[in-house]
């Protein structure tokens, strides 16, 4: 990997203290930086400033200015706080999955597994669940001492959830990342299906190993899941589902954290290695990129973002069950990335916001309007149309249409857009000699009796040379 970085860059990775100094330095100098940005790129900077102010005042505007009037003044409905929080939870996941799919080019269809692992980690560490095992551990939490179960503060659990998700990401990745393309997609999909099955079914476990003895142990809460889970709180301010818009700020902070991490990763040596692998794994390997390690890190780091999101989901809603973590959720995040703009952090956040808005707010609103129209016109047929149930139909159509007409998404990264329009020759469908080296007449693509088939790895010369 060493060829990818300059000696100067390597010198900068100088331990924690240097990093802290760097962070402090940039924090102190931001007014200067802002002024110079305003001078150099005026339009863009002003737009960004307005956007940031809008985002951070939105919860207040929403509560005091928009919500009371939404039905009368605005043509479209305003999302409520819970929807906004879920926009942010999904935005965090989209940014994380974008590392895996967008940066490193690995199709992960089981991302929901890491979301589930994050949520259950939070549930285990912030609920009375272990009380039935005689465990009581309350640390820095606003729960009374000696309360049954483990109760750790959200800001510790949040990181632990990410660590757990990342560890499982690495565990899954280690044996599977040798696979390419669609095979990896299938393995991750399988993993995404298995994890919720475990959470659903580990209800009466019998287990005996030395001093550890479990009889009829309910490890996961089964189909009912785990609840109640402590709400996140900072300095005594609760940020759960009943506390209104506080949680929106927590969500914003989480997304901001994810964006900062992802942005720095993208521009790091690791980020360049990911993109090299995405574009041509073999060439990247020849250039000295340790492909297995690099892909593993993409997988684990991407998974850790889902851990953040899972911890937020569990703690915010105060409950989690295995039914939250279906294959369709994995696909939902993929859709957000594809629609928003694969490879571009802002694009995928836009995708998350728009898809959640349509799914949770717009369709429900359309249903309510249809019912009103039905009542006004005396036509009960309108009441029976429920647009919310069309959401996945719409998403499906959107996916097919996007792939055909704008595969790079609405806000793509320039590099990714170029790739999506011209396939590298050895990746285009049907060009690799997949089925060359087979021996039975029942194999598709085998000339019967061809004993001297070429090895499948032989590249097709003509195609390699075409531009």
């Amino acid at each position: 990997v060493s060829s990818l970085i300059t000696p100067v860059e390597r010198g900068q990775t100088g331990g924690v203290s240097a990093w802290t100094a760097h962070v402090l330095n940039s924090a102190m100098s931001w007014p200067d930086a802002y002024r110079s940005a305003l001078r150099e790129r005026r339009g863009r900077t002003i737009l960004l400033t307005v956007l940031v102010i809008l985002v951070f005042t939105y919860p207040l505007i929403n509560r005091y200015a928009l919500q009371p009037f939404s039905r009368n003044v605005f043509p479209l409905p305003v999302p409520d706080d819970t929807t906004v929080v879920f926009m942010l939870i999904f935005a965090a996941m989209a940014v994380g999955l974008n590392i895996v799919i967008g940066f490193a080019g690995l199709l992960d269809l089981g991302y929901v597994a890491f979301y589930a692992l994050g949520a259950y980690t939070a549930a285990y560490l912030m609920s009375p669940h272990w009380g039935s095992f005689g465990v009581s551990l309350v640390l820095f939490s606003d729960v009374p001492p000696n309360f049954p179960g483990i109760h750790l503060p959200f800001f510790i659990v949040f990181w632990l959830a990410a660590v757990v998700a990342a560890v499982f990401g690495a565990l899954l990745g280690a044996p599977t990342l040798r696979l390419r393309g669609d095979y990896l997609a299938i393995v991750t999909l399988g993993f995404g299906e298995i994890v919720p099955v475990f959470f659903k079914n580990l209800v009466n476990v019998h287990f005996e190993l030395g001093p550890i003895k479990l009889v009829n142990a309910n490890l996961t809460g089964g189909p009912l899941g785990i609840n109640p889970i402590d709400a996140p709180s900072v300095l005594g301010i609760k940020m759960g589902v009943i506390s209104g818009f506080n949680a929106v700020y927590l969500g914003l902070a989480i997304v901001l954290l994810c964006v900062v991490i992802a942005r720095n990763l993208e521009r790091s040596r690791m980020g360049r290695a990911w993109m090299a692998i995405r574009e041509d794994e073999t060439a990247a390997e020849m250039m000295g990129v340790n492909t297995v390690r690099t892909k593993l890190l993409a997988f684990a780091l991407g998974a850790s973002f889902a851990g953040f999101a899972g911890a937020m989901q569990a703690s915010y809603q105060g409950a989690t069950t295995s039914d939250f973590f279906m294959f369709s959720t994995s696909i939902l995040v993929v859709v957000m990335i594809i629609l928003g703009g694969i490879g571009n952090i802002w694009g995928v956040i836009l995708g998350a916001v728009v898809v959640q808005y349509i799914d949770k707010t717009l369709l429900a609103w359309a249903g309510a309007r249809l019912t009103e129209i039905g009542a006004a016109t005396g036509n009960p047929g309108f009441r029976d149309i429920n647009p919310s149930q069309f959401s996945f139909l719409l998403l499906g159509i959107a996916l097919v249409a996007m792939m055909r007409f704008r595969p790079e998404g609405f806000l793509p990264s320039r590099q990714r857009a170029a790739e999506m329009h011209t396939a590298p020759p050895d990746q285009a469908i049907g060009s690799a000699a997949l089925l060359d080296d087979s021996t039975g007449a029942d194999n598709l693509g085998t000339p019967a009796g061809d004993e001297e088939a070429e090895p499948a790895t032989t590249p097709d010369q003509d195609e390699e040379q075409s531009p």
Partner: protein, 310 residues
């Protein structure tokens, strides 16, 4: 004990043959354009709904004479296969053909999108509830009622029916791919579409025919599903499709005999897991098997060289 074992094997075999029919669809399409056709499971699901609708429409019911049922079922089988074949080739035309020169990710995502579209078509068409169909083909044990044997093992008329539909189709397919001119064109296209095109093979048409065959097999599996398992629902295609895809991978994707073998092995795994473990773990086991195969032997049981791809 031994009887239980044999019974589990029989159940596994007959379920496995239905998996095989759908698995062939995955393997045919993967073999020719290297696309995991995610939508295929839902084509099977819609096939089962079409078969259900047709069977109700022609009025097949348990009381009818055997000859009449057989005739109607054969007609319904033909119509269902024709409709799902049309559907499948239309999907190829709309969603996959325009993406033939796109990166591999693009058609895969289009296929996932198509899967959601088809699932929702099923949902809108028949609603969210399970559709039940009566036992037109009796569930009686042939061994005791006809042969008069005194045994705990049972082979039902339904199982015989499932075998009677699937095995001839498998034989015809094998013959088609290995012996006919069109089959040869398919094999050539699978091996190298560009060269096949230069040799005068109409590649687009050959791919379309592959989708037609895959769709027809899914339709047949849909009818068997209705008459053998007596039920269908909009979400059936996803699970069933994943099982079938696992079968295809198990046998070595792109390999026709492998798909059939894989289907049978998977049927057996399912049956044994249901019987000796617990049904709620069966899915986890199926996916565990899938992951293990892909990791340790990506070429499947009968496999072929996939070293570059997998």
């Amino acid at each position: 004990m031994a009887e239980q074992l044999i019974q589990t094997v029989i159940i596994g075999l007959s379920n496995g043959l239905i998996y095989a029919l759908v698995a062939l669809g995955y393997t045919l399409v993967y073999g020719i354009i290297e696309l995991i056709n995610f939508a295929h499971g839902s084509v099977f699901m819609l096939g089962s709904m079409i078969a259900f609708t047709l069977l109700v429409a022609v009025g097949v019911s348990p009381g009818m004479p055997v000859g009449e049922i057989a005739l109607l079922v054969i007609i319904v089988l033909g119509v269902t296969m024709a409709l799902t074949a049309t559907l499948n080739v239309a999907i190829e035309r709309v969603a996959y053909r325009p993406l033939r020169n796109a990166p591999r990710l693009a058609p895969l995502i289009a296929a996932i999108g198509m899967d959601f579209v088809l699932q929702n078509v099923g949902l809108l068409w028949k609603g969210p509830a399970n559709l039940g169909f009566p036992d037109v083909i009796p569930n009686a044990n042939v061994l005791t009622t006809v042969l008069g044997l005194d045994t705990g093992i049972s082979i039902t008329y339904k199982q015989i029916f499932a075998v009677a539909v699937t095995v001839p189709l498998l034989v015809v397919l094998t013959w088609f791919v290995s012996k006919t001119r069109q089959g040869k064109a398919m094999r050539a296209t699978a091996q190298d579409p560009d060269t096949a095109g230069l040799m005068g093979i109409n590649v687009d048409r050959t791919i379309a025919i592959t989708f037609i065959i895959a769709g027809a097999l899914a339709g047949a599996a849909g009818l068997v599903q209705i008459l053998y398992n007596n039920t269908t629902v909009w979400s059936l295609g996803f699970r069933f499709g994943l099982n079938a895809f696992t079968s295809a991978v198990l046998g070595g994707i792109g390999n026709l005999k492998g798909a059939v073998l894989g289907g049978i092995v998977l049927g057996l795994i399912n049956a044994f897991s249901d019987r000796y473990l617990a049904a709620q773990w069966t899915n986890a086991i199926v996916f565990g098997v899938l992951i293990a195969i892909l990791v340790f032997r990506p070429t499947g049981i009968l496999g072929q060289q996939l070293a570059d791809r997998a």
